[in-house]
């Protein structure tokens, strides 16, 4: 019996180390380990591979429990997606990839360059719009982002657009004035057409550590509900385990993952394969 306990403890230590290393974080790791300990006791599991299977199952549960399926596009037109997040996470690139995908699916797509602040942000999105073969709504640098969004929504209606994707400037979640700007964009959109934006996606960088929780929390609060996460740069060595903590606490589902810098490097999120990758 003692021997069994020792094996179990060593295994749990090993699992704990892996979880911490992938940025799952202390609180969520503890919760997972305790849950696992309870289940191995009640199921009298000794075999390490069985324990690992219980663990993976538990993690997939955390990632999928609160997630509803992605909204269907034929409920309304245009379907409006607002993309937000802190600086440099991959918003503009992700929008290029998404636009191309929808276009290849036969949808009429429009993208809006509502980052009017950062140097060459509009030009960057313009290149992606060309690559994705979709139209772009842009004003001049320094213009009011809410005005760009308003203009884009009007154009989307006029042109019978199926999907409108709005790019916003990167901003740190702790900057109140910048978060206010984002709220204003959302408000303007909702006033124009109730229910818009239908999706508000936060783009998180897989290399980000515990700070991602703060990011998700504050963006979620400011925008009255993020509908999904896009986790980028998973082609690196970072595992993005932090989404477990975010799913656990905020119930925001991961919709897609970014796995590279080219237009095809976007995949639908698959909880099972994501969890398996955490252990490789």
């Amino acid at each position: 019996i003692r021997r069994y306990d020792k094996i179990d403890d060593d295994l749990l230590d090993e699992i704990e180390a892996i979880l911490l290393q992938t940025d799952v974080g202390v609180d969520t790791t503890t919760k997972i380990i305790e849950g696992l300990r309870a289940r191995t006791v009640e199921e009298r599991t000794k075999d390490p591979s069985a324990i690992y299977e219980l663990l993976r199952h538990e993690m997939v549960q955390i990632l999928t429990t609160h997630s509803s399926p992605p909204p269907s596009l034929d409920q309304h037109r245009p379907h409006v997606i607002m993309v937000v997040g802190v600086n440099g996470t991959g918003k503009t690139t992700t929008i290029g990839k998404m636009a191309d995908r929808y276009r290849r699916d036969g949808k009429k797509v429009l993208v809006a360059a509502a980052d009017t602040f950062r140097a060459a942000a509009i030009d960057q999105l313009a290149v992606w719009a060309t690559r994705a073969e979709v139209d772009l709504i842009r004003h001049q640098p320094g213009a009011d982002p809410a005005a760009v969004a308003f203009d884009a929504l009007q154009a989307a209606v006029a042109r019978n657009i199926d999907v409108l994707i709005i790019d916003t400037a990167g901003r740190l979640h702790t900057k109140t004035n910048l978060m206010e700007e984002l709220k204003k964009i959302k408000r303007i959109l909702g006033k124009q057409i109730p229910g818009v934006p239908h999706e508000t996606l936060i783009v998180l960088d897989a290399t980000t550590g515990q700070n991602a929780i703060s990011q998700a929390t504050l963006f979620n609060q400011a925008l009255d509900g993020l509908t999904g996460i896009v986790l980028t740069k998973l082609d690196g060595t970072a595992k993005g385990g932090i989404v477990l903590a975010i799913s656990d606490r905020l119930s925001i589902p991961v919709r897609m993952i970014g796995v590279g810098e080219t237009i095809d490097d976007l995949q639908d999120f698959d909880a099972r394969s994501f969890v398996e990758a955490l252990f490789t």
Partner: protein
């Protein structure tokens, strides 16, 4: 910070705490925090180390790092800082991949009246950097700042490109630009960049948010190279020299 680095750190702290007697004026808790604070400072290199200049101009600075870490912005910030000190910097747009990367650097250069070197239509960063350095020598520009494309430390071809640039122009300082919010991956990234191309220091960006900046500790302990600057905002004046004691306080929250 990386949790293996943390374990090692905790061990050192334990040793120090056991080695020290109890000071009458402090509670054990306060004393513990004090020891941890001191250890963090020691770990991070006790005093601020800044940029060194080459014995003969031009001084070449090469900025490298993962995608989106803040290299282009940091290039602009360094150019502004050096110009303010009386230097004549030249910014070099060596990122030929990212859409509008060259325009981005050009706009930054315009903002601070620093020239930006590019070769229209070139897809070869090695040539761009080599010609830029030659141009700087002839034009009397005494600092050349190479803004390279973001890349993964595990991308052999792209890491090779950095090696080739380094061999061609022999930068005086290679600076790793790391996002201040980076988690456990900081160790892998810093270690790999250092092993494969060698770095002389790093710049930790986006510390104007609420990220603790534990990555500073990981980077320093695995590369033994100093963090030279921190980025504290999007504007070009938002660059500060790195202060170990301030960072220690920040990490301890």
């Amino acid at each position: 910070m990386n949790f293996r680095v943390a374990r090692e750190f905790i061990e050192n702290v334990k040793q120090k705490a056991l080695g020290q007697g109890v000071l009458k004026s402090l509670t054990p808790g306060q004393q513990m925090v004090g020891i941890v604070h001191q250890e963090l400072i020691v770990l991070m290199g006790e005093q601020a180390v800044e940029l060194s200049l080459a014995p003969a101009p031009p001084t070449i600075l090469m900025l490298v790092g993962l995608q989106g870490s803040g290299k282009t912005t940091a290039s602009g910030k360094l150019a502004r800082l050096l110009r303010g000190r009386g230097h004549h910097p030249l910014l070099v747009a060596a990122d030929v991949y990212r859409p509008a990367a060259i325009q981005q650097l050009q706009i930054l250069g315009q903002t601070i009246s620093v020239p930006v070197f590019t070769i229209d239509g070139s897809r070869d960063p090695v040539t761009i950097c080599t010609v830029a350095v030659e141009r700087a020598r002839n034009a009397g520009q005494d600092v050349v700042i190479l803004d390279t494309a973001g890349r993964l430390h595990i991308d052999d071809e792209m890491m090779d490109e950095l090696t080739r640039i380094k061999e061609a122009v022999e930068p005086h300082e290679t600076l790793l630009v790391v996002d201040g919010m980076t988690g456990q991956d900081a160790v892998n990234v810093a270690d790999t960049f250092n092993q494969r191309i060698g770095i002389d220091g790093s710049i930790l960006t986006k510390l104007d948010g609420d990220a603790r900046g534990g990555a500073a500790l990981s980077i320093r302990s695995v590369t033994h190279k100093p963090i030279k600057f921190i980025g504290v905002g999007e504007k070009l004046d938002a660059l500060e020299p790195f202060h170990p004691e301030r960072m220690a306080s920040r990490i301890l929250g």
